[in-house]
Amino acid sequence: MLTPATVSAWLAGLDGGLLVLLLMLPVVGLLLVLALGGRYAGRVVLLLALLGLAAAVAVAAAVLQGGESLSYQLGGWAPPLGVRLGADGISAVLLLITAVVLLAVAVYAQRDFRPEPGAAETRGSLAFWMLLLGVWAGLNTVALAQDLFTLFVALELLTFSAVPLVALDGRAETLAAALRYLLFALLGSVLYLLGVVLIYGTYGTLDIALLAARITAADALPPSVSVAAALMTVGLLAKTALVPLHLWLPPAHAGAPPAASAILSALVVKGSFFLVLRIWFDLMPGLLDLPAATILGVLGAAAILLGNLMALGQARLKLLIAYSTVAQIGYLFLIFPLAASAQGPTWALGAGTLQVVSHALAKGAMFLAAGIIYAAIGHDRIRGLAGVGRALPLPVLALGLAGLSLIGLQPSGGYLVKALLQGSAEAGGAWWWGLVLDAGGLLTAAYLTWVLGHALSGSGAPLTLLKAPRRFQELVVLILALASLMLGLLPAVAFDLIAIGRSLGPEPIATAWAGAFGWDGLAAGLLPVLAAATLVLIFGPWRGHRPTGALGWPAFGIAALGEAVELLDARLRHWPVAGLSLLALLITLALGLAVGT
């Protein structure tokens, strides 16, 4: 008999064994897929993804109900010699969102990679599913591992699975993009590993809980640990593609097959960000009070502005969405300077975690919708989208709904993130972060209008579709977009999950939007967005047919600004420039951390 009492008793009886299950599912899947071959791979992964979602929900429910982290020691060995797995609130959130997006992509890609009956298997039919399982294994390990070296291995597993996903179709451009991604990510992981060595050399252990106890007990950070923190952080920033280290992201995310792009953009970059969270919030919470945290915030603000401006100038839909990812990554890093404000780190951590979830849902929906459009009309040039709104209403609707979440309108996840960030900024008297948030929202509204305006405009002749979209694919995309838009309607207790397992400030996250929802707020948020959209509709170069297809910088009389932004981005994404910015960032951060203590 399934009553609430029996369910809660069952959840209370769950110990960390469930965590091992989450690590084993993808690995068992890899072996199964290898044995069964590409013809059945899709269905096996679909089944495993369903099981994985159930396990992730069980972990989240157990953490939420118990009010404390789950923990499991492998082989019964305690740290520092043994390896410990653990799931606190944010781990549970990462496990959940990974399982949800993975399931959506597994459903979406069922037919894309399956060989025709009677035809020979292609390389992609097996490789895609194995790499997908590899990404899943990497992300679950990132969520659960509790020592710095296991986290290194997990990140490498994640990168090695993600890189070939980029080059799945084997074209020269995507191979070059994948190689570029791999080499820059390797630079990042070596720097991270160097930081790990320094920490081990100083404290003789790598277990996060033990290290945190020793680090907070000391009066000041030893110089080696300041340097190690800078090395690990910058290495992870290279893998997260925070401006100015974003050289690899746009070609890699825009060139991959749509199902792979969705995984890369929605989940893979979040893995390394999650590790930055672990380092700054769990391992060395003292860092958040230092001025060095402002450096991360400034880079985040630069990412929001540069990414959104660049998105506005793209001619191709997938590149536009990739640059939008560059911008959305920026929001993740605004939380660091705001964590020291009056609300304590709770709101900042809540904003970061919610942004991970909200962006994963929205960006998954956008890339998959762009994939349907690309498959149906054979290209993704924004200026050639006329008539798509009539021919493919559901994907265009999903694009629009996911875009609303990126703008940050009620009741979307993006709105919650902005409410938390604005609240912390105002409490800390740092109003300028709010300006960045507003500017980002308006620019997002502008490029969304640009895309939807083209898609909804009529074409003279009815569009002939190369390939009719499949209904289940359209539904998956729409569900993801709706989930992102409706995130704010979750019951308030769900947000308390984020704070479980850590002693943070006094403010529960749910109180942040006690008065945030309402018609007044909706209207206040909607008006500037509508104004930006109207400006684009009136002044955008809708009739012009410039081959570059960039949005009408000339029409606004600010052509120079558009060109300057594009030049800046091209320079920053030049390999030696990116490498030198990485070194400069490393030195600045190390000095900032060493001087601050």
């Binding site: 070059a176 791999l182 630079l187 050399g201 030696p576 030198l580």
Partner: protein, 114 residues
């Protein structure tokens, strides 16, 4: 100068050379080699720390003066670096076979030299 200091300095030099090569050499093959040098420096540092001793086992009074944990970590790190090199070389070979290109700069970008 003690052995650990000497090897520590060697590790720092390797890391420096590797970083220089990875950032400044335009060719991907050189970048891959530079990555291996850089990794070699980091692994050497693990060795130095193992030799320096201390760590869990010494604290537990096992009587050994070295620390075996970094060696276990290095072996894992070597496997990871080997896998990374294999993937990078495979991608590079494929890229050269498909297009004859051997650069990771995007088409149309300016002078690839540092």
């Amino acid at each position: 100068m003690s052995g650990t200091t000497l090897f520590g300095l060697c590790a720092a030099a390797l890391v420096g050379i590797g970083l220089y090569g990875l950032i400044c050499h335009p060719g991907p093959l050189r970048k891959i080699l530079a990555f291996n040098l850089l990794g070699g420096g980091v692994f050497l540092l693990f060795g130095v720390i193992a030799k320096r001793g201390g760590g869990v086992l010494t604290a537990a009074g096992t009587g050994s003066d070295g620390d075996p944990v970094p060696q276990a970590l290095v072996i894992t790190g070597l496997v990871v670096a080997f896998a990374a090199t294999a993937i990078a070389v495979a991608l590079l070979r494929r890229l050269a076979a498909v297009s004859g290109r051997d650069t990771v700069e995007e088409a149309g970008e300016g002078d690839p030299r540092c």
